[in-house]
């Protein structure tokens, strides 16, 4: 006598599987931990590099700031009265006027010497720089 056959044929045979062994689990767990550790190391290393980059950029900013101050001082020196007089006398051969004639003219005076923005006269009552239309619209909102 053979084994009883099921009345319903099973069209798809269930594939056989082997349960995960402890070794496999341990290997995978170890791999995950190693990967996490590696990620952490990479992240820390990246943060450290970024930190040193920030430090370097900070120093660069200070260098540029010092250069700007130096250039402002250079502009001030170049526009100093002593230099202007020296250039006028020595290079251009100018001399103080002996005779002064007064003339009435209907022309506006020359534009004021350009100065570094830091030193230029701030207009009294000058407001913020011009705002765009959408900023003006947002300002109408009570919660803005």
């Amino acid at each position: 006598m053979g084994r009883a056959v099921s009345a319903i044929d099973r069209p798809f045979a269930r594939p056989s599987y082997r349960p995960w062994s402890l070794r496999r689990i341990l290997v995978l767990a170890f791999g995950a931990v190693a990967l996490l550790g590696l990620l952490q190391v990479i992240q820390t290393s990246d943060a450290t590099s970024t930190g040193y980059t920030i430090h370097r950029l900070e120093q660069e900013r200070l260098d540029w700031s010092a250069q700007v101050h130096g250039l402002e001082a250079e502009v001030a020196t170049l526009t100093s009265l002593e230099r202007v007089e020296r250039e006028a006398r020595d290079r251009l051969g100018m001399v103080p006027a002996e005779n002064v004639l007064y003339l009435e003219v209907d022309v506006p005076p020359p534009q004021q010497q350009l100065l570094p923005r830091r030193f230029s006269a701030s207009e009294p009552g000058a407001g913020e720089p011009g705002t765009s239309w959408w900023q003006a619209l947002l300002k109408l909102l009570p919660f803005y």
Binding site: I54, L62, A66, E72, V100, Y102
Partner: protein
């Protein structure tokens, strides 16, 4: 390990006790360190791991009225060498050879400085140029410490040195406006606490805390650098010409009290000041506000203003000049010992008659006279904001030591002392419709968080507008009614008064020494500028009319043209003065 019969071996017990004792000891020690002395060791750790750095703020600039910098700050480095890192002399010499050309010191000086003491820091350079400092830092020499700093820089050189003043090594103002405006200019230092590595560098993303530095505010003065330069050059030239011991020139806007220029000599070279060397501190004084002198005949316009304001005289009022006046035991003569007969009040000013001033003081009376001196600001500081300002000296009739002859002498400017700033401020009231203005030198302070503007301040109405107009016209007659007056200028009607004082010394006066002065303003009808000129102890000529007045005559046309003041009449402008 049990012994025979199941008993525990004594060796095991001893071992267990040893381990237990060690464990207890360790725990106890940990508790001692981490609990009982937690605070102490936390501080020790912070000391080791944390660095503190003071962040120096950038000092504000001092600008002239048009924004041109008169004093500004540049970034710099202070460099120090830790002596312990340079113990090996051979290496020290080698490093010194690298550094010497960069810091302008000789190798021997550097090595000797290092060897001078066994420990501590050697100061290699202070306020070294930023780029040079960076290049030295980049050398990576052991023991080198670099502290960010700033260096004060004066683009206009020595211009306005006694006015601007200077800062010390710790960047604190020591004299002049640098000291007077220290609070506005200095800013607020910041602090930075950070975790550092073994090289002392901040650890990225390590613990950091602190507050940022707040830079100092920029101060804009009322001084115009061009007028200041004109005035200083002329003052230097005239002091040399007359072999004088010094002098002062002040230029002011009489309507606002804004000081356009203030120069005094002797002074010092700001751009080459080295405080490590001995310098005469008297050179640092701003003599325009610190030094008092007897105004002499310039005071006659104040006396005249008083008499006119009280309705006692008008320009055509007369008196008889006998050449001298006797007050008690004292005899007062005219400055030139002249006798002029009947003179008008205007002629009194034109000829600068002492007898006339005495006559006026008699009409005015002591109480009114000293009251008006007070109204013109004599005997009190002007509150200009400039440090070291003197009050001047006025002894009124109710004070001990006053005698009736004092009223007489005070009326022509002797026996009363004032600073040049007090005097120009008083005369400016005549040019300004009788209103006494507070002189001021700071126009604006612009800080990172706020901006302060300073407006003109009317102190009081010293005399009426009508009086001011009358006296101004009389002063105009002093200049234009006297032939060849050296303060006359082409193009403008000038009002002014000369003064010649003998120098007071302890116990009396030096009859061989004078102070020559002139105060004038223009244009007459709408004064835009007033100038005081004072030359101390001219050797070749004592008189204000010949020494001080020409200086006004030389400077005023240029200054008025620079200020775009239209001449009173073009045809007048084309004539010779």
């Amino acid at each position: 390990m049990s012994g025979r019969g199941g008993r525990v071996s004594w060796r095991l017990i001893v071992l267990a006790l040893v381990f237990a004792g060690s464990a207890v000891g360790l725990v106890g020690r940990l508790a001692y360190l981490q609990i009982l002395h937690h605070h102490y060791y936390t501080l020790e750790a912070e000391e080791e791991h944390l660095s503190r750095q003071t962040v120096r703020p950038t000092r504000g600039a001092i600008l002239d009225r048009n924004g041109y910098p008169l004093a500004t700050s540049l970034d710099a480095y202070d460099l120090y060498i830790e002596r312990r890192a340079w113990q090996d002399m051979a290496s020290a010499r080698k490093w010194a050879e690298t550094l010497a050309p960069l810091v302008n010191k000789s190798v021997d000086d550097i090595v000797a400085g290092i060897a001078a003491e066994p420990e501590g820091d050697y100061t290699l350079a202070l306020e070294l140029d930023y780029d040079k400092g960076r290049s030295i830092i980049d050398l990576g020499l052991p023991g080198l410490k670099a502290v960010p700093s700033t260096r004060r820089f004066y683009p206009e050189g020595d211009l306005a040195s006694t006015l601007l003043g200077f800062t010390g090594r710790d960047h604190v103002g020591l004299a002049g406006l640098e000291a007077d405006l220290q609070e506005d200019l200095a800013g607020t230092p910041g602090d930075l606490y950070f975790e550092r590595d073994s090289l002392g560098n901040p650890i990225p993303l390590g613990s950091q805390r602190g507050r940022p530095a707040v830079p100092g505010g920029d101060v804009r003065l009322t001084i115009d650098r061009y007028i200041q330069r004109l005035v200083e050059d002329e003052l230097d030239r005239r002091i040399k010409k007359h072999s004088a011991s010094g002098g002062t020139i002040i230029v002011m806007n009489p309507k606002t009290g804004a000081i356009l220029a203030m120069a005094s000599r002797p002074s010092y070279r700001l751009s080459r000041l080295d405080l490590s060397k001995e310098v005469d501190p008297s050179l640092f004084r701003n003599r325009a506000v610190t030094d008092v002198y007897e105004p002499g005949s310039v005071m006659k316009v104040i006396t005249m203003s008083t008499a006119v304001d009280l309705g006692l005289v008008n320009p055509d009022s007369t008196y008889y000049d006998a050449g001298y006046v006797t007050i008690g035991d004292s005899t007062i003569n005219n400055w030139d010992y002249s006798t002029n007969g009947t003179q008008t009040a205007t002629e009194l000013l034109q000829k600068s008659l002492n007898t006339g001033a005495v006559w006026l003081s008699g009409l005015i009376g002591a109480e009114n006279f000293y009251s008006y001196l007070g109204r013109f600001g004599f005997g009190e500081p002007t509150n200009s904001g400039l440090g070291g300002e003197a009050e001047g000296l006025v002894r009124s009739s109710d004070e001990e030591g006053w005698y009736p002859v004092d009223l007489a002498t005070n009326s022509f400017g002797q026996g009363v002392a004032a600073t040049p700033l007090q005097l120009i401020t008083a005369v400016a009231a005549i040019a300004n419709g009788g209103k006494l203005m507070r002189p001021y030198i700071v126009q604006e302070v612009s800080g990172p968080q706020d901006r302060r503007l300073y407006e003109p301040v009317v102190v009081r109405q010293a005399i009426s507008e009508a009086t001011a107009r009358t006296v101004a016209r009389m002063m105009n007659q002093v200049v234009e009614g006297v032939p060849y007056h050296l303060a006359r200028i082409s193009g403008y009607h000038v009002a002014g008064k000369t003064g010649t004082t003998i120098v007071s010394i302890p116990g009396g006066y030096d009859l061989n020494s004078t102070i020559a002065s002139f105060v004038g303003f223009a244009p007459l009808e709408d004064p835009q500028m007033i100038m005081l000129v004072k030359i101390d102890q001219p050797q070749d000529d004592p008189l204000g009319g010949r020494v001080a007045a020409p200086i006004f005559g030389a400077l005023a046309p240029t200054i008025l043209a620079y200020l775009n003041v239209k001449p009173d009449a073009l045809e007048l402008a084309q004539q010779e003065p």
